[in-house]
Every structure is written in structure tokens, then in C-alpha cells.
Symmetry: C2
């Protein structure tokens, strides 16, 4: 334990005071990389996902990329506009769960929560795996270690987040801005080179694209829709900003909405720019190298890596910079989920849809349990899907659009309720309080269109992706839903069960019969007996188990010789177990009736080293868990701290004093 | 827990009464397969191990097999004769640990114990892996699944042993006898066929044996000694009988000695017979198929499988019977260790060289902890060595001869002490009491020769095997030794620390200040408060942590409204933790001084389903482990059993009543 505690302190830093939470409010320039690294970074793979699907139809259908891209840009603009409304309406944070809960009821809220929980996990898994693909595109020799690298990055992210959101922000700003800068630099270089007459072609431009089958009519439309659905990964994570409004510096809603607008503009520019270059350079990609006429197992670069290599040149330093910042922003995009998931889990814990301990904050003002849970789930997915991006991405988009649709539908309800209020009454919170009824009509219209469009895309995603992996999500969501309902039902049942009438008050019980377990006459036993006497019990008996009859005889003799004034009861142990005879003795005790209780006092050896644990108290532990199940039985642990435990306690106390002194000093410096 | 308990009952059967231990005494016909399956089954691979080593020297040196075989037969006879003396001298069980402890002191005893613990694990690993090799020799398609099959068999053995020794005996008798029968049948068929003029040759007789290098002079002698050392695997497990004397039916010593003699005769016959056939059939084996001029990766049959196939013919049913019973007896040979290891661990636990809980017997009269530990260690070895017999066997023989040598040396000391006694005084136990001094001189001579011979072999094994893997054992033994010493030192230190003066007696403490932790006014809290009042404490306070200040205000209001006559103290929680504020409150309490104690009463929710556990008491658990480290603090668990827990308790009580009724009925039937 000693090592564990020191390691925790070293890893997650000193605890922050609740009163200092204000300090962690984020200005826009810090909020953008924290909340927008997910949507911004997804441009790194969105184009490629479109090309991968259309490649199934061969060279002839690749031009459909344009339609898919335009559709995605329009969708992105609509969704951003919709979520800006949410920022104003919910300055306290308008995640899909909150908006659905307030406007659409429990079922919608839990549906949204199921979708969000899955999406947070998928965000971590997909972003990290895609970031690792950027690395292996630049350093092909790492190709075989994708799983290990991905797991490593997830672990690093979890560690950074356990240290707290503000420090994360500082670190996380750099790669996001670098990514934006390098992508725009790439556009500039490409524009200049093409303007000066160069013809730039991708390394894969001359590879034949073998159609898997011929698509026409309905099949072709479905293929195009599937490509569009795949490209919709560009939209993932847009919700994070509206969810995180309370973390923004004031004016919160305005800053959040502004950040969303900036993010939207950057996303559209980068996504469309990359798509244009992919088409102009004739980038060809396929899930399997054989479809491009290559030998099986040939390592393939990502579409973005191909564009970068074609623009900057193969061994040019800028190509490596591009790959590095792409990997950086993608791995950090997972951070969006590390902010969102524990927050949602905490809200679910508060509402008793998840274990209560998810509601507790840890030392570092973050929901440590949620962070650890998220990291573990993502690691399981990465390992299970062998870090293959194309297989993971099939599970990704469905949940996103479920929460989009529910969130927008909830907003429609919200604005209609606002309209139903008598004119002049303020709307809820923030700047929205000042808008007139025409403004509300406009917001209603935006959200209604957003809800309609995202619902249509949801159906498209469901139809085109179902057999490709989305069915897993279709199963997982109801399972999570039922699980959360079950947890709530359990808590409600327990609350009802433990409720007491208005006139019940605590009153002393009539009898307290105390049993003290002893194995020999030593300090822990005497301490336990002394404590038992302090309780002034109705009856007091020392109990021992005669595992070895000779030992028991020695104990009895010592007992008599010392003149200990507590009767000693020796229990025989026919099955040579310590636990069973005691349980039987307690179970059959006539005293355990009516208004009486049996208190079992266990002298416990407290040790300071982890390796000393298995040498002590093993039977006591098993005994306690069984005794707690018995009616009218109470278990009393009288600890006897061995030297090693006293040392550990002293060290801990010293560390906590030093901690408090440092915290006081910090507070002085800052005031 | 419910499922766990039911599963345990289903898996290990009903508990046995200590008084019924007598029933499990074993007649010779049952003791032979239980205690001798290890030495008997090792003839299945001992010959092959000799051939494998000599193959390194090429065809020219294969004739040295005869010398190695004769040496091993002599050694086997001497060791069996030596251990027969132990059976008489130690009717209470004369394992190397006991004999060394009594005659040579602690250091020798712990050395023997280290060697034995390693050997038990090796017995399980080697026997099971070799048994699986017999299976894959007959069914080559299973070749790739050796690790999985081996792990499976270890798990099955552990399960059978958890059910108890007697039932194991019944099951385990069959394959051992079948193995003996089929091997002798094979000898008969071979004799008849050869007598009638057939020439039988092994499938590998025509394969060239490529010498790895040329051996002559000292190198050749060393190679021969190494082959001899490898063949000494035939001796492993001989000690089991002398160790298990108390499990034999009366007269214990005589029956055990007789069983040893039968085992010795069978071992010599089978080992020598198999070696003769291997030489006559010209069986050629090598670690690597390329040394036999085969393609890399060609599956190779074991030597015994080749002999069986040559004798019975390739597809003859008897060949498959041979492989099946060989696999059967080898997998069951591991059972010797499953008898011996927990017994040794229990003795070490009794002497405080191992955690005490290894001393406790489980429900089924067996040392469940030891069985589980042994199975896990063997599985780790099998997985680590990829189920490769030739690599595992290098670790095997060293420990065996360490314990042989110590055991025999201890016996020499024993007999010399007997001789030193005045004439006419009875020697310790059994038939030995009646032997005269000439008889003792004879026994002394036998054990002295045994000690000398096994010491010589120990040196040979150490020298020839050290670089081939035995170094691992040379490292592991001192580690185990130091570990056991450390455990004993810890227990001794604790005993000294908790010792009390002769006049100390339990006496009531002056003050008992009681804190009751509450989160809301409900049945568990009221129950805890009622119990606290029963203790008639010096002071009584209810304590709550204001994780959410609003909730705390509600609680305070309810408290006042109900007129609960216990003061409520609300602790602020700046770090939003439940545990820290309570710890700080207790740490800083002025009452925790001198002859006073603070009792912290925790209302605990007891639930009946395992999945309900994470929904409750998580903070209480962390709190308890920290409170126990504080001076003058006692923790009191007041359980509140929810409906599911009451159901579980009722089910358990019902099951235990039924159990008791069945046990009583069994006892009636048998009396």
C-alpha cells in the first residue's frame, strides 16, 4: 500500500481544492484543442473511408466521392449550427443525455446515454488506432506493432487525464494547432506547385482499382450512401463543445458557440481540401492490397500520408512533420472522450443509473473511476479488433447519429416549450434570456432541420453499415440501456426497502452478547478482550477453535493460570476448518433472539507491507463475510498494529502534513 | 457468492468428518497406483531421454545405452532398499523434510523442502507434458495443441484432488494397472514374434543419426554420464511411498515397504525391457528432426510409441491402447505430487515456514490451498516452456537427488542414534522396535550406501545438466529457502511483538467515543445508531460527509424534524472524497488519547448477489482499511441485510441442514 500511495501521488500529482475549480475554466484558445481535437482530427481519415468504400465499385465510381464530400460538408454545417443553439440554451452543459432527459424523458435519455458511452469508447479506439496508422505509414518497420502501440497510447492518455483537465489542456493545445498549420501549409504548397505548372500524382495513382463487383442502379446508390455514411466520421465529436460549456471562460455560452463555429470552419476547409487533393492526385486505396494488384501483405500508406508524400516529396522533412502531427492530434483526439466519458458517467451515477462511486470525484477533481473504465474498454476493443481501423469504424458512426438525432429533437421540444411560455418571460439561462420570439422561431427551425437531417443519416448509416459491424452496436446499446435501468431499479428497491416510518428513532437494544475470538494469549487478544469489556455487554465469552486439540489444551491451561476473568469456550473442529465451527456456534446461539444482538470481536493483525498480508487474517476475512449475513450479528474489528503498520501510518501522516503545508504555501502564492 | 458456494459443493462434494479419516486408509492394491504411478510411469520416457543424449554422439556411441541402463537399474534397487528402511523407521511418514528436520537440523530440512516443492511442481509438469506427447504420437493432428491439452489435464487433476484422496484412488487405480499390463503384454508379443523368427525394426531404424560433434576421451565419458543422469528420471517419485506411510492400511510400515518392493520390481522390469526393445529394434530419436535427416518440423513419435508400433503393427488396436494407457498413467502420475505437495505445504505451514492457511484443511480433508497453488505453478511452467518435454526434464532431476541424498544421510544419523541408545531400549515406532542391533547395523549400511550413491549421482547431475537448464533450479532453491526462512522470521518476530507479560489481564478502557457514519435517515443508519447506543459509550456522535452541501442540509433538517437525540456532525469535503474527511476527523479527534478509544460504526448493506456488490459499500471498504491503521481506533460493522441477502442466508442455512441430515444418514448406514 505504501508504494501504491506514493506512486499515485507521483502519477496524479497533489489533490486540488474544490474551491480552486474556478481556475480550471478554459479560454477559447485552450478549449478548442481540448474539445475539438476529435472532429478536427477526423479529417485525417474521413476522406480515406469514402475512397475505401467506392473502391469496391472500381475506378468508374470514384467520382462519386465529390457527392459524398459535398453531402458531408452540408451536414457538418447544419450540425454545427444546431449545436450552437444548444450552447446558448444549456449554459450548464447540454450533452445529449441532459437535453434528452429534460425534453424527451427517461427512455430517450438512457438511449442517448447508451449511444454516448459506446461512442466515447469508439472515439478512443478509432482515434488512437488511426494515429498509430499515421505512424506506421511513415515508419513501415513498426507495422507489426500496431496493437501494442495503440494500447500504449491509451494508457498514456489515461495517465495524463488522471492528472487533471487543466494541465492536459496546456499539453494538448500544441499538436492540434500544429496539425491545423501543417495541413494548411500542405494546401499552400500544393496550390503553389500546381499553379506553377507541376503535375502532382499520388504513389498509388497508377495502381489499378479492381472492382469487387459491378454496381449499378439501386446497388450503386447504396454504395454511394455507404461511402457517405463512412465519411460521416468527420462529424464525430461535435457534441463535445456543447457538453463542455461550463468549462469555458465567461461568457460561457458565447465562447462555446464561437469555438464551435471556428471548429466548423476549420473542419470543412480541411476535409474538403484533403478530398480535393486526393481526387486531383488520384489517390487509390483498398482494404486489401491485392485489390490494387499488389502482393498480399504489402504495407499501404494512409490516403493522407500519400497526399503528404506527393506534396512534400518522399523523404522531405515536412512529410514526417505531417505524419507526426497527424498522429499527435489523433491520439489526443481520444482526449475528448476522456473529458466526456467520466462526466457522463458521473451524471449517470448521480441519477443512480450507474454505481454511485462513479459520482465521487477523486483527488484531482476528475472522475478517476470513469477514466480507468474508459481506457480499459478501449483497450479491449483495440485488442479484439487487432487495431484494424476499417473494422472498428463500422461500429463508430451509428451511436453518434443516435445521440445527434435525440439531442436535436430534444432541442426542438425545448424551443417549443419556450414559445408556449407567456411572452416576456425569460428563457432559461445565458444570452437566450434576451432573444425575442422571432429568434426562438429561427433557433427552432435550425434544430428541427438538424434533427430531420441527422435522423435521415441515422437511417442511412443503419441500413448501409448494419451487416458490416454496426449490428454489434445495435445489440450493445439495448444491453447498456437495460443495465442502467437495472442499476436504477436496484437502487430504488433498496431505497424503498430501507425507508423508515416517520416516528422511528434509534434506541438501545436490550441485550448485547459479545464473543471474542482468541487463538492464544497475546497482546491482540488481550486488547480485544479489554475493548469487549469496555462495551459493558450482557454476556462476554472468549471463543477458540480447537484445530489442534493439544494447542487448545495449552490455551485453556494458560487461561486458568493467568486468572483471566472471561469464560473460555473451546469449539471442536471436526472438519478442521476455523470458519465453520464459529459460524455454527453463532448460528445456534440462543442469545441471538428478539431485541438482542451478538457482537463478534475479531482481533486483527494490521501489517504495513503488502507481502505480510497473506500471512495474517485470512480466516478472519472469510469469517467476516459470512457473519455479516447472519441476523442480529455485528462484527467488531479490534486492530493490533504491528511495528510495520505503525511505521507506515507514521509515514502516511508525515506525507499528509507535508502535503497540507505545500497546499497552504501554494494558496499563499496565488492570493 | 451463492453461485460460488454451490459450485464448490458440486465440484468438491460434501465435507468429510475428521473422525472418518480412518476410512480413507489405503490397502496396498489402491496405494500402489496412488503413490507409484510417478516412478512406474517414468519408464515411459526414461529410455528415450538416454537415447536423445547419446544421439548427440552419433550412431557409434548408442551402445553406451546399455551401461547407462544398468547403472540406473542398480541405482533404482539401492534407492528402493534405502527407502524401505525409512518406511519402518518413520511410520508417521518419512518424507525428506521430516527425516532431515529430525536428524540433520533446520537448514538441511529447508533445503530438502525447497528441493521437494520444486520437484512436485516438475512432476506435474513433466508427467502431464509427457502424457500429452503419448497422445500426439498416436494422433499427430493434435500436435499443435500440446500446451492447451497439458493445461487442461492439470486442471482436471486439481479438480479430482479437491474431491479427496480416496475417490481419487479408485479412479486412479485402473490406468496404472492397465499400463503395467499392456507393457508386459508388449514384451510377451515381442518375445513370441522374435522367438518365431520375426525381425522387428523400429520405423526410425534406417534413419541416419548425425552426430552433433565427435566425442572421445573425457567428453565421451561426460556424454555417457549425461545420458545416465537423464535416465535417472526413472527414479523420480520413489520417496512418495515413504512419505505416505500413515495413509496405508495396517500394518502401515510393512505394507508400505512391500508396496515399495513391488514398485521397484515392476520399474526395473519395465525400464529394462523397454530399453532392450529400443536397442533391438534400433529406435533412433533426436531433439531436432533434421539430425535424423528429416525435414524441419516433421512430427516425431516417442521412443515407446515407436516400440509399440513396431511390436503391435502400425494400425493395430493394441498400439492405440498402449498410447492411451501410457497417456493415462502419465497424467495420473502427476497425482503423486497432488498428494505430496499439499501435505508438505501443510507441514511447512504448521512449522510456520509457509503461510498458516496452508496448514488448515479444507472441507474435503485435503489441503485445498496447496492443491490450487501446485496446479497454478505447473501451468506456469508448462506455458513458459511451451510444453517441451526435453527442456522441462533438465529442471527435474537435480531436486530429486538433493532430497534423496539428504533423506538417506538423515537416515544414517537416525540409525547411529539408535545404536547409541543403551541396548534393549526400544527404537522409535513400528516393527523397528523389535529389530536387534545387527539389524540396525544392516539398515545403517543400506542407508549409508544409498546416501553415498545418490550424492555421487547428485554431483553427476549437477555437472552434466547445469548449463542445460538445471541452473534455474540452482537459483530457485535458495530463493525458496530464503522465502521460507523469511516467513518463519516474520512469524517469530510477530510472536515476540505480541507477547505479553505474565500479569497482564484484560481490563475495560476508560473511555469509548463512538462515531456513527450516516448518509441519510434510513433503516441501516437507525440500526447502527441503536447498536451504538447499546454500547453505552462515553460520547456518541453521528457523522456525515457533505459531498453535496444541499444533501447535507436536507439530512440535517430531517435529523432535527425527527428529533433524533444523537448530535449530527457534518464534515465538509473540499476534495469531494468520502474517505479523506472522515480520516481527518478521526485523526484530529482530541478524544483519541491515553486509555480512550474511538469506535467507528459503519452501517453496511449486505447483498445476496455478486453483481450487487459494486453498487454498495465501496467507500466503506476503503475507509475501513485506512481506519485500521490508526491508533486507538476500532471499526464496527453493523450489517443491514437486504432482501437478497436474507434469501441467500436462508438458502445457505437450508443447504447446511440438508448436508447435516445427509451426513447423519451416511454415518447410520455405515455403522
Amino acid at each position: 500500500m505504501r508504494a501504491g500511495s506514493a506512486a499515485k501521488r507521483l502519477l496524479v500529482g497533489r489533490p486540488l481544492d474544490s474551491g480552486r475549480l474556478g481556475e480550471t475554466l478554459l479560454p477559447k484558445r485552450v478549449a478548442l484543442p481540448i474539445f475539438c481535437s476529435d472532429p478536427l482530427s477526423s479529417v485525417a481519415y474521413a476522406t480515406e473511408e469514402i475512397l475505401l468504400i467506392l473502391a469496391l465499385g472500381g475506378l468508374a465510381v470514384l467520382h462519386l466521392t465529390w457527392y459524398a464530400a459535398v453531402g458531408i460538408v452540408i451536414l457538418l454545417l447544419v450540425v454545427v449550427a444546431s449545436y450552437r443553439q444548444t450552447c446558448y440554451a444549456y449554459p450548464g452543459g447540454g450533452g445529449a443525455y441532459v437535453v434528452s432527459a429534460e425534453n424527451l424523458g427517461r427512455t430517450a435519455a438512457l438511449t442517448a446515454a447508451s449511444a454516448l458511452l459506446i461512442d466515447y469508447v469508439m472515439t478512443v479506439a478509432v482515434s488512437v488506432v488511426s494515429g498509430v496508422a499515421a505512424i506506421t505509414s511513415a515508419v513501415p518497420s513498426l507495422d507489426g506493432h500496431a496493437v501494442a502501440l495503440s494500447v500504449f497510447f491509451v494508457a498514456v492518455l489515461a495517465w495524463l487525464n488522471l492528472r487533471g483537465v487543466r494541465e492536459s489542456g496546456r499539453w494538448f493545445a500544441m499538436p492540434t494547432y500544429a496539425f491545423i498549420a501543417v495541413i494548411h501549409l500542405m494546401f499552400a504548397v500544393a496550390a503553389v506547385r500546381m499553379a506553377t505548372g507541376s503535375t502532382i500524382r499520388a504513389e498509388s495513382a497508377d495502381l489499378p482499382v479492381h472492382a469487387v463487383s459491378t454496381y449499378s442502379g439501386i446497388a450503386l446508390v447504396l454504395l454511394a450512401l455507404r461511402a457517405f455514411a463512412s465519411g460521416c466520421t468527420a462529424l464525430t465529436g461535435v457534441e463535445a463543445v456543447s457538453n463542455g460549456v461550463p468549462a469555458f471562460a465567461k461568457p460561457k455560452s458565447r465562447n462555446a458557440a464561437m469555438t464551435l463555429a471556428i471548429m466548423g470552419a476549420l473542419s470543412v476547409t480541411m476535409f474538403f481540401g484533403i478530398t480535393v487533393l486526393a481526387m486531383v492526385y488520384e489517390v487509390h486505396v483498398a482494404e486489401d492490397p491485392t485489390e490494387l494488384g499488389l502482393a498480399p501483405g504489402t504495407p499501404m500508406s494512409t490516403a493522407l500520408a500519400q497526399i503528404g508524400r506527393a506534396t512534400f516529396g518522399d523523404w522531405h522533412i515536412l512529410f514526417y512533420v505531417l505524419q507526426a502531427v497527424t498522429a499527435g492530434v489523433l491520439v489526443l483526439a481520444a482526449n475528448t472522450a476522456f473529458n466526456g466519458f467520466p462526466m457522463l458517467a458521473s451524471v449517470l451515477g448521480r441519477d443512480r443509473y450507474a454505481p454511485r462511486q462513479l459520482f465521487h470525484r477523486g483527488d484531482r477533481l476528475v472522475h478517476s473511476n470513469g477514466i480507468v473504465l474508459l481506457a480499459l474498454a478501449a483497450i479491449v476493443l483495440i485488442v479484439a479488433f487487432d487495431a484494424e481501423l476499417t473494422r472498428l469504424i463500422q461500429l463508430y458512426i451509428l451511436g453518434v447519429f443516435v445521440s445527434f438525432t435525440l439531442s436535436q429533437a430534444g432541442m426542438v421540444k425545448h424551443w417549443r416549450r419556450e414559445l408556449a411560455k407567456p411572452a416576456g418571460a425569460g428563457t432559461r439561462g445565458g444570452r437566450a434570456g434576451g432573444v425575442d420570439r422571432r429568434g426562438i422561431h429561427r433557433r427552432l427551425a435550425i434544430n428541427a432541420f438538424g434533427a430531420f437531417l441527422t435522423a435521415v443519416v441515422l437511417v442511412i448509416v443503419l441500413v448501409t453499415k448494419f451487416t458490416h459491424g454496426a449490428w454489434i452496436v445495435v445489440i450493445a446499446m439495448p444491453v447498456l440501456f437495460a443495465g442502467m435501468k437495472g442499476v436504477r431499479r436496484h437502487y430504488d428497491a433498496v431505497s424503498a426497502e430501507v425507508a423508515v416510518g416517520p416516528h422511528e428513532r434509534p434506541r438501545a437494544l436490550a441485550e448485547n452478547h459479545v464473543l471474542v475470538l482468541v487463538a492464544s494469549v497475546n497482546a491482540p487478544s488481550l486488547r480485544a478482550l479489554s475493548y469487549a469489556k469496555t462495551l459493558r455487554p450482557t454476556s462476554l465469552t472468549a471463543v477458540t477453535v480447537a484445530e489442534d486439540p493439544a494447542d487448545a489444551e495449552v490455551l485453556r491451561a494458560t487461561w486458568v493460570a493467568r486468572g483471566i476473568d472471561v469464560p473460555l469456550r473451546v469449539l471442536s473442529s471436526p472438519y478442521r476448518s476455523i470458519v465453520q465451527p464459529i459460524l455454527r456456534h453463532v448460528r445456534e446461539a440462543p442469545e441471538r433472539k428478539g431485541d438482542a444482538v451478538i457482537s463478534v470481536v475479531i482481533p486483527e493483525y494490521v501489517v504495513g507491507h503488502w507481502w505480510e498480508q497473506p500471512l495474517h487474517n485470512q480466516s478472519a476475512l472469510r469469517l467476516k463475510t459470512r457473519l455479516l449475513f447472519m441476523k442480529n450479528v455485528v462484527v467488531i474489528d479490534v486492530p493490533y498494529r504491528l511495528a510495520s503498520a505503525r511505521e507506515l501510518a507514521a509515514e502516511r501522516a508525515e506525507a499528509e502534513r507535508a502535503e497540507a503545508a505545500r497546499a497552504a504555501q501554494d494558496a499563499d502564492e496565488q492570493s
